[in-house]
């Protein structure tokens, strides 16, 4: 089984962190292909970044279809381009926010999301509604740390995120934490040990979920809303991205 984990930002050091987390959770025999697009934003922190990241992300999915990929993980907590990617892919496509929030709902009646900058909170809030976990998500919290600062050893990211998690448990009545950024993947185990509740990283949750669906033989429905994009012309520099007949 081959799972392609796409970090839709172009910071390869983060892609490596993500890939390592993915490989730790994958079963023996599952190949993890962790990539970043060649084109796009260095980090994704607003709707504009998300929209611009879709081009490279979808190109990776298109290539994946030629490479025999069985399932995809979109490793950015806003789950950008998820529905579009599902139209392109035959196997399942899993967003890390989607997988993490649903995983939390299996093991706690209430969880909090701890994300990066304040302006990403509204993006996560919309996903809470989209994924039907409003009844489980007690609050989405920002830790006020920029995405790329998570990689900066000087940034004290672990401490900052830990403190916000502690506030979440104390104030929100939550019994689990969802980490709101793929760049927090390597903080997950330490946070879990420190907090004594499930701390869920979306990369881990999504890779396990993708493998589970493939194993269960469940693939993206190609009837209806996730059918392949209809062939048509694309103008200008996007001509190469035009959907083609099989």
């Amino acid at each position: 089984m081959r799972i392609k984990v796409i970090n839709p930002n172009t910071t390869w050091s983060m892609t490596e962190t993500i890939g390592a987390a993915a490989r730790r959770v994958a079963s023996p025999g599952v190949e993890i292909v962790a990539v970043s697009p060649k084109h796009g934003p260095a980090s994704i922190e607003c709707h504009y970044d998300e929209a611009m990241a879709c081009l490279g992300l979808l190109e990776e999915v298109r290539q994946g279809e030629a490479e025999g990929v069985d399932a995809y993980v979109i490793a950015c907590f806003g789950d950008p381009g998820l529905d579009a990617a599902r139209e392109v892919a035959r196997g399942p496509v899993i967003g890390i926010a989607e997988a993490a929030m649903r995983a939390a709902s299996y093991v706690a009646t209430g969880f909090s999301v701890v994300t990066t900058l304040q302006r990403t909170v509204v993006i996560a809030e919309h996903l809470v509604d989209k994924y039907g976990v409003r009844g489980h998500c007690r609050r989405v919290r920002a830790s006020d740390i920029a995405v790329l600062e998570l990689e900066n050893p000087q940034s004290n990211a672990y401490r900052t995120v830990l403190d916000e998690c502690r506030r979440a448990l104390a104030e929100d009545g939550s019994a689990a934490i969802v980490l709101g950024c793929a760049g927090m993947a390597d903080l997950c185990d330490r946070l879990g040990d420190a907090l004594g509740v499930p701390v869920i990283d979306g990369v881990v949750a999504a890779v396990a979920q993708a493998e589970a669906l493939v194993r269960a033989g469940i693939r993206t429905s190609k009837v209806g809303d996730y059918a392949r994009p209809m062939p048509k012309a694309y103008a200008g520099s996007l001509a190469a991205y035009a959907p083609t007949a099989d």
Copy 2:
């Protein structure tokens, strides 16, 4: 890894069907323990049956804790006793309705549930709300076949369920089918081949989901609402079921 699959009704032939489906989806090295309680209803088709099935079901979970079980699947589409079982268990506990409906929401924007008798529809409808998939579930449909008739070779169950699935695709605008009874597990592949859309059996979906959570290191939160039941006295014939201190 050991996953205990509990068929909460006492019809062991159905338990065997369920166990076989579970074993087909489990990874190498995952042990499936498929059981039925000794006490309880032969089939579960209403709220009363559900309530009465909890006693034996929860006893199996309590025993599982002593047996080193890593995760549990409750193999009845009403997901009876799910929250209570989570209080008892340290590992994740997955209901088949929960897992199947969420699996469908990863691969289709709209699905239909095809269940057994008309009176089970309202039970499934409540689960649609509980699991936050109201936006995805287009309709819950009865096929008007009793649970135990699924096991009767004379009952023409496959044909009856297939016809209802076809109506679902034609009338509901759905792109995937969720089978609304654990007893349909062995119909799943044939239905999928005949219909050309994902057909999701809850046993398969739940076992894969349980394995995924264990692999991801995600266990039931023992803080808050799913903490272990507090020790106390139980009177009369239920004295042996009283929660005890660890």
Copy 3:
């Protein structure tokens, strides 16, 4: 008219408190039969306790049908076994949470629930959604007092509950209080006098509601979802609980 008030825990001193509250509100000529099951938990404080209490509770309803009972009240704020009891009963079955929350919605646009231990809060929250009073219920609050401590004269229960009610009025913008445990029935009048807003005990609300429905000639629909359980075999020690034909 005969109303059977079932305290689903097995602490008879609490049953007596409940029965006394029921008799105070019942009209002349209405007979109150207040009982506890012989088998089951001494108090109900989590999902496991709820699930285990159903056996004895439903047995009392079955007996009630033979005893000419006109309506039932389930006197535990989690309303355990409510749907199952409605399948068994011909007359109306009223849960005290259901009746209390709806009564509050007739006399205030916003109310708070004050319950016992923190872990019962999520149970009440789910009932808020089930009964459609999310728009009215401003908050569910725990007073951090165990159910059986309500009966302990040393526990200072009145004061603890009063303080939590005062916080509810001050912080939640509520104009009424719903007491979240049948064991608080005898605190209700004193709290109402002290607070100057409606304080609603579920036992009182449910008995009045049950009487109202009987008087109005409104009984449980035996068509559809609350039809009698279908006759079938139950295995082992539960054989005697199997539904039978009329």
Copy 4:
């Protein structure tokens, strides 16, 4: 106990029908005062009629406060002026739509409303949301009969309503019927006998509910949103309607 049942339209023959239904359900010793305002619409079939009916309706509540009334019933299925009446009244004020829909939710998991003209459907739909019974109400149906035609012996109203109820049971999956007009009160018993499911008239349900709340000592909260209107000047012909200090 004195319950004032206010038919907010000015058709006294309908008020008599309503009063008779109210008296049949009231307990011995409960006095029913059934009235219509002197000013206002002959029937209420749209938002404009509703708005205009409030003047007379609220005047009746104001007078009721001077007459020692313990509870009020607003006997029009749109529940016009309900919140305003609650500000004026010290005892509970019950709308017949509110009481009927909630009564239905105690005895069936799904009900249909059968009302008069098509344009009243949207009014009832809004009440379904306001009263939190969206999960129970399967459909609101018009029988295309004008309100005053219900009183016309030539109108064949019983047959028309019966046919619509039969369609509701067959097509909506409902197990109970709520009658969507106070003018249908005298059809209720015949319909129930013919249909074999609970048929709920709002006048009966509301009077029983009002009596239950009074008996339970539950009155309108005078703190917060239902506090008495603040004294102030009203201009012109409405000067006499100005709220005054107690």
Copy 5:
């Protein structure tokens, strides 16, 4: 184009403030007719005031139909009589709460409403649900200032409202303010300058919205729920308000 702006209270000094705000936003060539009814409450601060204000308000709409009015604005933040007015009018009828909240949702993902007295909060909350902006409205806040005090130069209204707006931005995570009373129209620009976020006055928003709909040729549908009231008799002093055939 002629837009009639109806202040449903009878305080003409407020009507003048409202009219001035309306004229500032209207395009050249748009005539603003700002009126108060002759009959009704001096201010509208509770459901009773709202219900009583409908008589005069609807009379103004009826007269408007004879005067060639193209659109109406109801200039009270509770939007009293809105649905009834739409039945009477051929052109669009816009409530100021409706227009202001929707305008805010075009320019911010989260806004707070700052209204007058605490008891108007629940009225605004219900409108938040009615207009489908629950996902955008973070909180409705009272500034604890009575409506007519807004006109009192001694009342320090500007300062009081400004302080509440500041708390809204700091505590609610909002990015825009909706002013919750027509009497705040002349505070809007100063507040916007001081706060640096959009501050939206309903009169301005509604007049612009009304003009936009007229310009777009969009009028009230006279089919279905907003069809003209059916002709019928009204009794007593309301006889002159009876709907007539065209």
Copy 6:
């Protein structure tokens, strides 16, 4: 005032139709700039097309900021890139689905959307929830006509859409129609005349709405979620799209 109307597909003949509709509704003195991106899909009929259209669309908004544009209209019924565009723009940005659905909710209690291909229905359904008009939108219907066929004189598009509108009025209980594609702008008036109910084209509704907000002085909040994208590096061919400091 300058309003930029962006047709996010690259079919300029459709852009001309859209521009003409926009100019007809704009006030004297309002300049309409109607454009298509140079790069992107010829039509937008699925999530993939939407995602790919964002690049050119957002480039047009960025240029608009340099050109002194006061407001933007995104003239594709899926409202692609709306939140991202709001981050970039200082003036309001209006989606045509958003404006059309809200306009309909001012003039009818129930409307139907008539769109193009079946697979666009789910996109519109999600917008119904996003914009809070679930209570008003009775149904989203496909007319099974491809977007570019609307421009083909042989396609009989008018007749096909008209027939679907008629079914909507007859079957959905709707009192207004929302046209679900910018390419239907020139059918709007004929449909309205034929149907006798409001038929709302999103281009017209959105241009009028944009003008109204500008006139009312309401601009996009630059605090919080719609603040300008933070400056950062974009890699590869997207480097030129990187957000810069002002």
